[in-house]
Amino acid sequence: MRQSTTKRFLGKLGMYTLLTIFLIISVFPFYWMLVGSTNPSDKMISSPPTLTFGGQFMENLVNLNNTVGIWRVMFNSLFVAGLYVVIALIVSTAAAYAFAKFQFKGRNTIFIIMILSMMIPYQATIIPLFQMMSAYGLLDTYFALIAPQLCYPFAIFLMRQNFLAFPDSLLESARLDGAHEFKIFTKIVLPSMKPALAATSIFLFMYQWNNFMWPLVAIRTEEMYTFPVALSTLNGVSYTDYGQMMMGISLATIPIIIVFLILQKHFISGMLGSAVK
């Protein structure tokens, strides 16, 4: 008996040790990112390493703003991601509803094609997209940054999973009452979908906020920089100011962490729901 209690204690100790080590590995880089944003550049590659906050916060912010115009970058990123989420959410929610709750010709074919398209690497579309935008003079516009991924099949997939669980009987009784299809969708179905809509919104927001390759190609001038593109230009060939860079990384990362921490319940449960079946 005593032996098995010891064994269980050791097992538990091992479990918590493992989890704590992973917790430190997961979280420490974020702490160090903040440390870096308050220290001068050379402190990031100093011996002994710098592990505490310094007094360079304002200098780094001012320098960063002089280099890339960080408030403009922040505005671009927020504007592009915000508008994208609104439109993409409407587009994918409407489509997902039709895929889940209607019988119509071509339904399965269209759905399967969209899902399979997720397997085609983004890079296979980027060259023709560039030519298209360039031909219509749309490079370096918000339109170019927002439009290409508005139909985001993963969002359609996520929303469809949630609509499938909505009872058909409610739809039918509303139809018998003579309600218009559009009304049924907006007044009866959507209000019960708030958690799913929240989860899908975070997905879409993160996708656009973090998107790099397409903006890198589509943006021509500094005024249009989004965070990933702006940060990437800080990585100089000969000299990199790490203080500035850490400040930029922090500014790009903190908003999304705050949003995530506030909505994490929806987000994680949205993901937990989507992965199964």
């Binding site: 390493p49 690497p121 890079q123 299809e181």
Partner: protein, 284 residues
């Protein structure tokens, strides 16, 4: 009744139109480009010449093998860690579950560019990693300046970024395994490790497949990390197919050749996904 047959078309119309313009058309157009060549400002049919050019292009082969090395090291390592963490977190007895879950997921919300740059600072020769390793008597590791270590650095950074994400996917799957299965196994005398291999792993098979395919697609397009963490170097030691597509398309503006490389990635994703279906060997 008429209304009912038309309504769904209104609902899907925006998605379908956007899909045709911004996804379907570019996919077909780049296939078309890969069989054409620009001559005097116009594209003329070039047969397989872009593809035969690949065969003799040593940078392409380097990119292909680098992508594969990273893929083969990173995907199994990440999935294994994710399954282990998920099954530990799924334990009934564990306290602070929410704290661990959120912390492990945190890296997955950072932008690929941001974390790549953060790692690039930590991995400098006299950066944080080497300073900390120095305390336990390990001499400076050339994280970014050695051709073998640079690949490993990318694998490490990617694993940091993606383990939590996959862990959440596995947690979803684990919640569907009835606790009684573990209890029955425990009564039969199976230890935790035995239970892990005879219950957890087989039950998660479809989800491992799902996560495996997602990671395959992601790794074969690898771009943000080599672009920002290693710049494809030293030499071409971390040149990936994704980076090579970008270089050809947007540094040399050879759209046809870039498209041919992109289609190699398309075919590889198809083959590897199919292979994983076969390997895990069932439906769904």
């Amino acid at each position: 009744m008429m209304k009912q047959t038309k309504a769904p078309y209104f609902f899907i119309a925006p998605a379908v139109i956007l899909f045709l313009i911004f996804t379907a058309y570019p996919i077909i157009a780049s296939l078309y480009l890969s069989f054409h060549q620009k001559e005097d400002g116009a594209y003329t049919f070039a047969g397989l010449s872009n593809y035969t050019r690949l065969l003799n292009d040593s940078i392409f082969w380097t990119a292909l093998s680098n992508t594969f090395i990273i893929f083969i090291l990173q995907v199994p390592l990440m999935l294994m860690l994710a399954i282990i963490l998920a099954s530990v977190l799924n334990s009934q007895l564990l306290k602070l579950k929410a704290l661990f879950r959120v912390s492990f997921f945190l890296p997955a919300v950072t932008s690929l560019v941001a974390y790549s740059l953060l790692f690039s600072i930590m991995m400098q020769n006299n950066g944080l990693f080497n300073e900390l390793l120095g305390y336990i008597g390990i001499d400076g590791i050339p994280w970014l300046s050695d051709s073998v270590w640079a690949k490993f650095s990318i694998v490490m950074a990617m694993t940091w970024r993606w383990v939590g994400y996959n862990m959440i996917i596995f947690l979803a799957g684990l919640q569907n395994i009835p606790e009684e299965m573990y209890e029955a196994a425990a009564i039969d005398g199976a230890g935790k490790i035995r239970q892990f291999f005879s219950i957890t792993v087989p039950s998660l098979k479809p989800i491992i497949l799902f996560a495996g395919i997602l990671s395959t697609i992601g790794t074969l397009q690898l771009f943000d990390e080599p672009f920002n963490l290693t710049g494809g170097g030293p030499g071409n030691s971390t040149m990936t197919l994704g980076l090579y597509i970008y270089e050809n398309g947007f540094e040399y503006f050879d759209f046809s050749y870039g498209s041919a490389v992109a289609y190699v990635v398309v075919v590889l994703v198809a083959i590897l996904s199919y292979g994983q279906f076969k390997f895990t060997g069932d439906k769904s």
